[in-house]
Symmetry: C2
Subunit: 369 residues, 2 copies
């Protein structure tokens, strides 16, 4: 996407030095736009762990580039399989909920495990990582096209009046490589001149809505209003929301969606107020080995410190303030699971599907898709 007239992706290989992976430092946004150079598996691990990069598709891509950086370490003396398998396990361990990370790492491992020439391993790893990025971008573009139909139909049903969309967290282009999932139809609709307004949940504790989605939408000129995570129910009761669009970090075979904590509460409110609630996701976010998402999708518990402190800008620099008693006990689950029964549909690169086992099975059995 364009940032002040220059085109960016959220991850790319350095033009001059192809042993360096570059990312936008999402910990500094919206206050400072900085890029960061990642030169080792550890750099990638830390960038994912501390959320310099975040969002299911992006951490998948970062994991793939991590395997490429691992491949660059291989010498004639290295046991290639052990080396790659250790690097893969290490990378996958850093965030458990989004399935894209483990999927990307496993896929790349399978491509590389039987190769013996270090140069070829690195070449193939890079090829895979770059193809993964292109595929994710293409998927987001298609998700945008399918999602656009939903936005257009709401717009038509309101005779062209402003469509009010509520979103939680950041399923924007920053979370993907380009376009985003939730934002893809929003950007397309905005380009087409459909009148839109986005309600942006701030998304405590890390405030991805306030910091990233607000920044993204602002840069693309899409009108938005930032609200607390508490506000969405009231807005829906008062008829101020037409559509809820969220991302997914892992989607079960039955259509349960693990997404940023708080998503489930918005889905309940949407259902209670008869407002369509869609999850937008590449099919790579499906984990069809899991049926009961609430029971079986692992939910990451993050550092309790993230609850005690809020980071923001003060006197020109990033600063954290403590918002509770010094000795407060806190807990920090990062995701929740929205049961399929609350989801109007799943908007994927392959079309719009019901959040139902039968529909989802079709998606995976039909090779022509």
């Amino acid at each position: 996407m364009l940032i002040d007239g220059k085109s960016y992706r959220s991850i790319w290989l350095d033009e001059k030095d192809n042993t360096v992976v570059c990312v936008i430092d999402q910990q500094k946004l919206p206050f400072f736009f900085e890029t960061k150079e990642l030169r080792s598996v550890d750099d990638i691990f830390n960038a994912i762990k501390d959320m310099t990069v975040r969002g299911a598709p992006l951490i998948g891509a970062a994991g793939a580039f991590g395997m490429y950086l691992a491949a660059l370490e291989i010498t004639r003396q290295t046991n290639i399989r052990d080396h790659l398998s250790n690097a893969g396990r290490y990378l996958v361990s850093c965030r458990p909920t989004a399935v894209n990370l483990s999927l990307a790492v496993h896929q790349i491992y399978r491509k590389l495990e039987n190769l013996t020439d270090p140069v070829r391993v690195a070449e193939q790893a890079l090829k895979f990582a770059q193809e993964l990025c292109e595929m994710e971008i293409e998927n987001c573009r298609k998700i945008g096209e399918h999602g656009l139909k939903i936005v257009e139909s709401v717009s038509n049903s309101k005779a062209g009046e402003t469509v009010n969309i509520l979103t939680h967290c950041n399923a924007g282009w920053l979370a993907c490589i380009d376009y985003g999932t939730v934002t893809a139809p929003i950007y397309l609709a905005h380009e087409k001149g459909i009148s839109l307004h986005i309600w942006v949940d701030e998304t405590r504790p890390k405030n991805q809505g306030a910091r990233l989605t607000a920044w993204e939408l602002g840069k693309q000129g899409v009108p938005y209003t930032l609200i607390t995570d508490n506000a969405g129910g009231h807005l829906m009761q008062k008829g101020m929301v037409d559509l809820v669009l969220v991302g997914s970090d892992r989607t079960s075979a039955s259509g349960d969606v693990a997404n940023k904590i708080g998503t489930y509460l918005k889905a309940l409110a949407a259902k209670d107020n008869k407002i369509p609630f869609y999850a937008l996701l590449p099919t790579s976010s499906f984990d069809i080995s899991i049926h009961d998402g609430i029971r079986d999708i692992p939910v990451e518990e993050r550092d309790p410190e993230e609850i005690m402190e809020v980071e923001g800008l003060s006197e020109g620099r990033l600063r954290s303030v403590r918002i509770c008693p010094e000795d407060a006990k806190t807990a920090n689950w990062a995701f929740d699971v929205t049961p399929a029964r609350l989801i109007t549909g799943l908007i994927t690169e392959k079309g719009i599907f019901k959040a139902e086992e039968t529909d989802i099975k079709k998606l995976f059995s039909d090779k022509s898709n």
Copy 2:
């Protein structure tokens, strides 16, 4: 309640100078415990407006003391009715949702409007304000006794295992004069040795949960864990919540409850997970002139700045950090309305009632109550 061994109320008349109203400065908690002296109607207005004092019963009491301070301004030349009526309108205008403020001010006005002697007006105003405080305290004590039965019954059904209670915002003794509404049964149960653990919603944007409820519970030694407003749904899905207890700023004749924004989302999650959800309130929070709470209870919109910034402690002092782009548009509704159908019961000083018009009518028609 006790703070470090010393007994406090949230509002009181200065012992040495009975023209001074004292309050705990709730804007400084939990970082600094400071009291503030209020000496004029303006002081009271500003303390309510900027949330130095907050919570439905407490702002009712503050309003009554405001009328007393107005009465102290009366001279032989004053038109008493005009003076008191202007002061009352001014005080009531500062926060629209909680009904206690306007109720207290109207009641005191009716007591005073026919008096002609300035000394007598002031005496009666003070008497009313002090009686109101005593009544609110007594109401909270009784709410505690009725609520205790619910907590005991959950404890018994779990064979004495820890009862996990989720609460939103602060309906503690700080919001009242003493004991609190939600906290009254919690403190009683804790004293009785019932094993309890409280999930405290941080309650953006003003973080009354993180700042006030956490502080209160900590001071009384009640185990709690601070969570984001997003987390409650996940906890309920995972069986980690046995009971949800919230306050009310205004309760309609049909049992709809206006409370801090986000309460409705927790009520939906409680319903979805078959967890009992009670509102605890003095009957003074009823507004039986309103039937449809969602349509007719006025919801205060506060300063959008409260959404852009988070205040906390940094390097030993209170500081605000901006959490979003500088040019972000924000909106800040302070309350939402939970429909009666989601409420298991209303715990009042007169007993536990169904959130239903027929039951609530009984409460107001039966003079023996």
